[in-house]
Amino acid sequence: MKNFNTILFLAFIGTFLMSCQETVELDIKDFEQQVVVEGLITNSDLNFIKLSKSREFYDSGASEKVTNATVVVTVNGEDNVFVHNPDADPLLNGVYLPPAGFTPVIGNTYHLSAIVDGEEYEAEEILLPVTTIDSLTVRLDEEEIQEPEVEGRFYEVLFYAQEPQDRIDHYLFKFYRNDSIVKDSNEDIYFSEDKFLGEEIDELPIASYYAIGDTVKVEMYSLTRESYVYYADIFNLINSDGGMFSPPPANPRNNISNDGLGFFQVSAIDTETIIVEDSGN
């Protein structure tokens, strides 16, 4: 599921986990606060724009949210005003939701305008199609059952799809166990370009292991080239070894204007769910 390049990257960085490490305090200067945009537009009912601010390196807790911005998504000349937290849900601070009847479709271009404290941040992306997930199956992992990291969790979920060889695609994957995001490690992102992929994607295990009764959901998003590059850059940044073997850390290339951080992602989405049952093998 990982990008070919990320496999290479991690494999080599992984070798240095056999060395010794210790935590050090950094003497950091020159912090200047910036606006962070996390936007997602999909051809399903998953649409939001989240706005927050960056903070000092050693700050903790949730980052500062922007609650009074003007957020508009324009498509085909039509403005759609996104409203901040319409139901005053404490968990949705800084989240702007679309108006009723906002239904994105494949082929359209979406333009974001977010005005925060008098400054405008803009971005634009097209909604590209995504192929479908053929199916998911469950398989018992012989090794994991011997010593499961979490008791009961020793089933793998396998993914099947046909990758279209006649067009250029980029993908992002998200996995959920009972509606919670699942990652093998905190800094993992599952994304890929199709340059190295063959047509048959068979029996590809998704992240982590699952227990009987778990509801496993796989989401597959289409990415534009720019989105793929952003995810690749973010992945390199959060997995960087400081520039010894990996390239020196750098800010990801993004599509937000006016020095805004983050990304405005527009995707088609395909979802598949399976409940883990003992198939008797």
Partner: protein, 784 residues
Amino acid sequence: MRKIIMLTLFLMGITGLINAQEKFTLNGYVKDAQNGEELLNVTVYIDEIQNGVISNSYGFYSITLPAGQYTVHYSFIGFKKFTQKVDLNKDIELNISLDVESSQLEEVVVTGEKEDKNIQSVQMSVNTIDIAQIKKLPSLFGEPGIIKTIQMMPGVISAGEGTSSFFVRGGSADQNLILIDEAPVYDPSHLFGLFSVFNADIIKDAELYKGGIPARYGGRLSSILDVRTRDGNNKKFQGDASIGLLATGIALEGPIKKDKSSYLFSARRSYVDVFARAANQDNLVYFYDINAKLNWRANNKNRFFLSLYTGRDSFEIADSFGFNWGNKTATFRWNHLFNDKLFSNTSLIASNFNYGLELTDPAQGFLWDSSIEEFTFKEDLNYFLTPRFELDFGYHLTYRRFAPGKIAPSDGSIFKENELQHEYALDHALYVGAKQQLSDKLSVTYGVRLSIFQNIGNSNVYLYEDPQDNISPTRTDTLSFGSFEPIKTYVNIEPRASVRYIVNPVTSIKLSYNRMIQNTHLISSGTIPLPFNTWAPSSYYLKPQVADQVAFGFFKNFKDNMYELSAETYYKTFENVTDFADNAQIFFNDDLSTEYRQGISEAYGLELMLKKNKGDLNGFVSYTISRADRTIEGVNLGRTFVANHDRRHSFNVIATYDYTDKWTFGGSFTYGTGKPTTIPSGSYQWGDGYIPDVITERNGYRLDAFHRMDLSATLTPRKNKGRKWQSNWVFALYNAYSRKNPFTLYTQVAQTDDGDIIGDGTVKEAKMIYLFPILPSITYNIKF
């Protein structure tokens, strides 16, 4: 009548004078009496003309003088001076064998230096590696470190632990040309820099040129490390074995036909993997290398040499991931004397560096490999015109093939087969250099190297809407070139010049200028080249890198050449330094040229060194203060940044002490300013629990200073004297006070070593990696 007699006498006188002006040549080879090895850089000094010559890289000397009687002295450190009276009334071939100085019969001491060579020689900015001294120094796991010693020389900075890479005078690690018997070695590390590809047991001579580089060398911007192996004892059979905690080596040599031909064979292998496999440990790493040499002195005018090297490193993690890499080289040489003054060396050289990466996984398995191969023809000539004028000139032609990468998926893998296109190059060089003594005090060397580099087909060049768009490169056209069809030709002239002025017999000053061109570029954006980085030739999009260096030096010897002081300062400017755009994707990128960013670099520094050559306590102290920075459009937003390889201060001490006949102690200490690194100025939250850093400035922060002390003790049992089998024990302590030297620094969300998040997952921390704590070792060496 008287007039006729006068005229006849006069004519006879003139003829006599003409006869007296007739010149003859004295030439030959100087060898080690014990094993027949030719000695490089032996001084051949003639009292009557107060001048002399130095034997060349193959041990050959030639001196042309008017007929007469001469007293010739042959001298070389570690050997007894030899004097011969010569009646030069015809061309004479005189081959000399020098005896080792009796106090050091246990070890062949090959230092390659005349006592006051640093004052006399016009060559500046060169460090000669004392092989015998290296063997007394603390070494990691008993392996004498040629690269480790080089990293202590002034102007040379170690790239750190985990690698054998080094930086010379503000140049990055890829700007050093490392040669073994004239063949290039692309990665000199074994076992993450714990060992190097150079086996000290078989090295004859190693010279590192940092500046004032002679015209016969080229191809890299910052240094040439010219390592030559021994030929093999052509008098009797000899063996050396070295058994250590991590690796074992054996070297065997001997005559095939006494005094005429000999062989040298050596092999080393590490075996920690054998124990690890037995202990069911998952991570395995090992290396091996083999050197073989054959030489044949057909007659006095022709000698033939064949040297071969192959080495490999292999690293496996838990049966699922492995990678291996290695160099293979072969050199065939023919030394030929055209006449007494014209020495020729013809070499045919082949070199291959390749690596492979394998991921064993049912769904995502693949094998990736890549290589670079080159074949070279070299013709080098040395013309010893007069003792005051020597010419060297030649032609080098290299064919290079670059195979940057091929993926072969394993059965059932989701990946499909893919290969990056190959690139080819033809590299021509023509050079001429002269060494001229203008007066008793003033000598010069000057020369020029003409570099004609061609990037050739069979390959395609892609044209882009924007050649620097590395997000979504859009090709507008593809130009196809057939086999050997020139795609791009770069012609460059590299002038070289040095001047030496002798102030008095123990003091001299030197000045040099050189221009170097580099047409082979390392595709890597980290500080240290990974074993699996690739190289690329200058091409349609990649221009040759250029470096201009001016250096000035002051040299003084004290107490009868016991102490040598040198002070050198240099200034270098670089053009077209190859770097990569921020966020460059350098692995497996069909449009890699869109990531190239070439810019300028500037470096300058002051190097000081004090060396003690004689007595029981030997060694040197060196200190370098320097700066190197780069300015490249597309990197760090086009702002000037401190280069990855900049280390403001570098201080090194190496000392060996011959305490008694039994015990020798060695020690080294190194101190360097910390490596520049990029740290965040803040962070933000984005996506599903990701907390990326905000990066404001590249290399704006320094890691803590790097310092380390190594100690060793060598015990030679008294019973060695006179015995056929001789042995010694080496006890060494690497990183004697267990300093945690920062290797790199990275940030992450605060978590335990197992990956469990600490706290609520919103706090970030910085982690420093350090590689080696204190490491003791014992090695047992036998000589038979």
